[in-house]
């Protein structure tokens, strides 16, 4: 049975790198007594793949990992078992059965991500930057210089920004919905740096606190975008 696990990575665990999160789950799954499937061959390893590695320093409310079970277990039990043996900062929030087959892999599905971004204490610009967000987002084209291995070229990042606004409930927090995944990917820092650049502000290092809030698949057809949270493609196991 193929399963998608959703978890949060918060607090001090933002300092744990992606590979260590993987190792963390390999051990947590054993401690929780979840009967996971292994690859065949001389050195079997757990069948486990992550939707999208999260950079060190970022927190997240929506990380996804796909695994394969040898013995099914209910969502409620599995979530409880994983949290019982877990470390503070990683909280499993969902455990869903997903369709068989390679096409359904989280890694290949990721199309977009939501982020919230705040300024670290004492690093917010000394101006009313919030007021400039709507006009920045209203532009038809946002050109930035991007470095590739060989050269530097100007690209338009506007098509990769699906949403950008200050949160009404917390006006110093900016919400971003950005293209994510292997086809097109845009980092929230780049958007923010570019935005502040238009105001003539160069942010200090470590200026932002970034939280990833959701990862989406795109189920739309014919160029129309229809974003569905990765958890929405699975079903609770009873």
């Amino acid at each position: 049975m193929k399963v998608r696990v959703k978890f949060r990575k918060q607090g001090n665990l933002k300092f744990i790198g992606h590979l260590d999160v993987m190792r963390y789950f390999q051990k947590a799954i054993r401690r929780a007594g979840i009967d996971i499937a292994y690859t065949e061959g001389l050195s079997p390893h757990m069948i486990m793949s992550f939707a999208s590695p999260l950079g060190v320093g970022l927190t997240s409310d929506a990380e996804y990992m796909d695994i394969e079970l040898r013995t099914p277990v209910s969502s409620v039990e599995a979530v409880a078992a994983l949290n019982r043996v877990g470390a503070e900062g990683i909280e499993v929030t969902g455990f869903y059965q997903i369709p068989e087959g390679k096409a359904g892999k989280a890694m290949t599905l990721v199309a977009a991500a939501d982020y919230t971004l705040r300024f670290r204490e004492g690093r917010a610009p000394d101006c009313r930057w919030q007021e400039a967000v709507p006009s920045f987002y209203a532009q038809e084209q946002i050109l930035v210089w991007k470095k590739t291995k060989k050269s530097e070229q100007e690209v338009d990042i506007r098509p990769l920004i699906y949403g950008m606004r200050c949160l009404p409930e917390s006006p110093d927090t900016i919400f971003l919905q950005l293209a994510s995944g292997s086809a097109a990917n845009l980092k929230p820092e780049l958007v923010m740096d570019t935005f502040l650049g238009t105001l003539g502000i160069k942010p200090p290092p470590f200026a932002y606190e970034i939280n990833r809030c959701e990862l989406y698949a795109d189920t739309g057809t014919e160029g129309s975008r229809h974003l569905v949270p990765l958890s929405g493609l699975g079903t609770e196991i009873l």
Binding site: K27, R31, E88, G89, F206
Partner: protein, 627 residues
């Protein structure tokens, strides 16, 4: 959420911030106000090394079983964070509470190898603890050292308030109880140390005085006060089966060196190799029962989720129930995809059979440690491994499908000759010949023989504690001899040779058999920037040479001198069971090239029988008990 000692900006600018945040699964949290004693347990090297050490895991678990003690961990900050902490004056902190070490009652530092001595000073310095014990005030943590290097604590005597000589399981409870009593009576630090010095195994260097002869050797070593014991007794846990063992070791987020469950099957070694300190100081050999090991294995795997389990001991093949534990691990855990790692096994039919079950024969390599190239020199060092056994083992292994062999030797052994060194190459070549004797269709390409040599460092409490060392140029000459001879062998293309640098060896030699006067050089080298000397990229011999020169400490006095049989050594005040008389006899027998049988073949009267247990009473164990 636990508040961290370091801010985000620092943590995001250093390599592997996970080294400093604690919060690992199974790490122990307590409430500050509910414990009487706060103990910071330190391994003075980087997190990944320190977290791999079994001894600390045992003590961490044992201390935290006491409700009145909270034991936390601290490791050396890596050089990047070290610099930031100095610049920003951030005090060193413990991983669990993230509180400054300076606020603790005890700072325990394990001394596993000599090359960590500069890091010991780093730990004290970053904690804001005066480096010299004599300069510490009443509210400073008590700095206590332990581990194998504490068997000659003298080079570090100036920096420690106390040393614990021997295995931690025995008298820490008494020490904690004494500490609580002294504090409730409002007694001074000095008075606590005075009383602690009367606990067996506890050595308080400030209560002893050393005088020297004109030639620099020790004239006297004695307590400065009435009631302080002249001899410090090594502590040994005689009942390993019932001794505390961690059921739920801390599971690091980072991949550490020992990323697995470690099952200590026995302590001590029956072999009596004359160069080996562990083989002498951990006598008598004591085993854990098979039943308790099975239980530990199950619980630890359950509680950690590790995917590998490894046996730990000085010589696993001598464990009397080896087939029992190995077969148990294979039967019980192979089906759960748990790797089984079996280090320090002698190569024979049994070990080859089990190894072929637990590892991929084509990828793994076999390890032999003949230590010396010729039979003559192997007899000198009492390594009871013969050429016949090695060649037979290799032959069986090649038939079993292996084609990679690792060989470990030492150079610079006492009584070693040029011929002994060349024999290293000959032995490697003979092993290669065994391989090419196989019919071609049984072979798996070429064989790969890796020869590694390290330079021998004479250690206290060994028969070679009287031996002299050599000059760096001599050591490199020895390695060249081996290299040259290997190049002349028929199968030279199948043999690779690695050797270690010689200058580290000399410094190890000074620390291993140094006395109190060496501490001045350690302090000076640290002030000049010595740190992480065990790491090649940070090792700087010139800095140490300058420190020795500036402080007037003569390295040659400690390394090049052959010590007289009647010389009083800095470590002679420690009683380890094995007597100096026995060591002398063994030194004599080395000169006679005479082998001494192992403890199970025949008791040689080393002195460890005074502990009345382990292998020393094995014979009588089989006598039926009356009633």
């Amino acid at each position: 959420m636990r508040k961290l000692a370091l801010n985000d900006e620092i943590l995001l600018s250093v390599e592997k911030p996970a080294r400093y945040i604690g919060g690992e699964v199974n790490s122990v949290m307590k409430r500050r106000d509910e414990v009487a004693i706060r103990f910071a347990m330190c391994f003075p090297d980087v997190y990944e090394i320190g977290m791999s050490h079994l001894g600390i895991q045992i003590l961490y678990d044992m201390f935290n079983r006491r409700e009145d003690v909270w034991c936390e961990r601290v490791y050396s900050p890596w050089v990047d964070l070290d610099r930031i902490m100095r610049e920003q004056k951030i005090p060193l902190f413990a991983l669990e509470s993230q509180d400054p070490i300076r606020a603790f009652d005890f700072l325990g530092i394990t001394l596993q190898y000599e090359m960590c001595y500069a890091n010991v000073l780093q730990i004290l310095d970053l904690s804001g603890i005066p480096l010299l014990a004599a300069e510490r005030e009443e509210d400073c943590p008590l700095v206590i050292g332990g581990g194998p290097c504490a068997y000659n604590p003298e080079p570090l005597a100036a920096f420690f308030d106390l040393f614990y000589i021997g295995e931690g399981e025995t008298v820490y409870d008494s020490l904690f109880d004494l500490y609580k009593a002294c504090r409730s009576e409002g007694l001074s630090r000095r008075e606590f140390l005075r009383r602690a010095a009367r606990i067996p195994g506890i050595y308080v260097p400030s209560l002893y005085e050393v005088t020297y002869h004109e030639d620099g050797t020790i004239a006297s070593f004695a307590p400065t006060e009435e009631g302080i014991p002249a001899v410090v007794e090594k502590q040994v846990e005689m009942n390993l089966t019932d001794a505390p063992y961690p059921e739920a070791p801390v599971v690091p987020f980072l991949k550490v060196t020992q990323d697995r469950v470690v099952l200590e099957i026995q302590r001590g070694c029956i072999r009596g190799c004359r160069f080996c300190q562990a083989g002498m100081i951990y006598r008598p050999t004591r085993e854990r029962s098979l039943a308790c090991l099975k239980e530990h294995a199950r619980r630890m795997l359950e509680n950690t989720g590790h995917e590998e389990i490894s046996l730990s001991s000085l010589s696993s093949s001598d464990y009397s129930e080896l087939p029992g534990i190995v077969n148990f691990l294979i039967d019980e855990f192979r089906g759960q995809n748990i790797n089984i790692s079996l280090p320090s096994l002698r190569i024979d039919a049994f070990s080859l059979d089990v190894m072929s079950k637990v590892q991929d024969v084509r990828k793994s390599s076999l390890t032999f440690a003949p230590e010396a190239g010729s039979q003559r020199l192997r007899d000198v060092i009492n390594k009871g491994l013969t050429e016949e056994i090695i060649l037979q083992g290799a032959d069986e292994a090649f038939h079993g499908g292996w084609n990679k062999v690792k060989l470990y030797f030492m150079l610079g052994l006492p009584l070693e000759t040029e011929e002994d060194r060349r024999e290293i190459a000959h032995l490697a070549d003979k092993i290669a010949r065994k391989y090419y004797e196989l019919p071609k269709d049984h072979r798996n390409g070429k064989c790969q023989i890796t020869v590694s040599t390290s330079f021998f460092v004479p250690k206290p409490f060994t028969p070679f504690q009287w031996a002299s060392m050599f000059r760096p140029g001599d050591y490199l000459g020895y390695a060249k001899t081996v290299n040259h001879e290997i190049k002349a062998m028929l199968n030279q293309k199948s043999i690779r040779y690695n050797w270690h640098p010689a200058d580290v060896t000399l410094l190890e030699g000074v620390f291993a058999r140094g006395d109190r006067r060496v501490s001045a050089a350690i302090l000076e080298a640290y002030r000049q920037g010595a740190l992480y000397d065990a790491w090649t990229e940070h090792w700087n011999f010139d800095r140490w040479l300058r420190a020795f020169e500036k402080t007037g400490v003569d390295m040659d006095f400690y390394t090049l001198r052959e010590r007289g049989l009647d010389e009083q050594f800095p470590w002679d005040f420690i009683r380890v069971g094995v007597t100096k008389q026995f060591l002398k006899k063994e030194w004599q027998r080395a000169h006679e090239e005479t082998v001494t049988p192992n403890c199970r073949v025949q008791c040689s009267g080393c002195g460890a029988a005074a502990y009345r247990g382990g292998v020393c009473v094995e014979g009588s164990r089989k006598v039926p008990q009356a009633g």
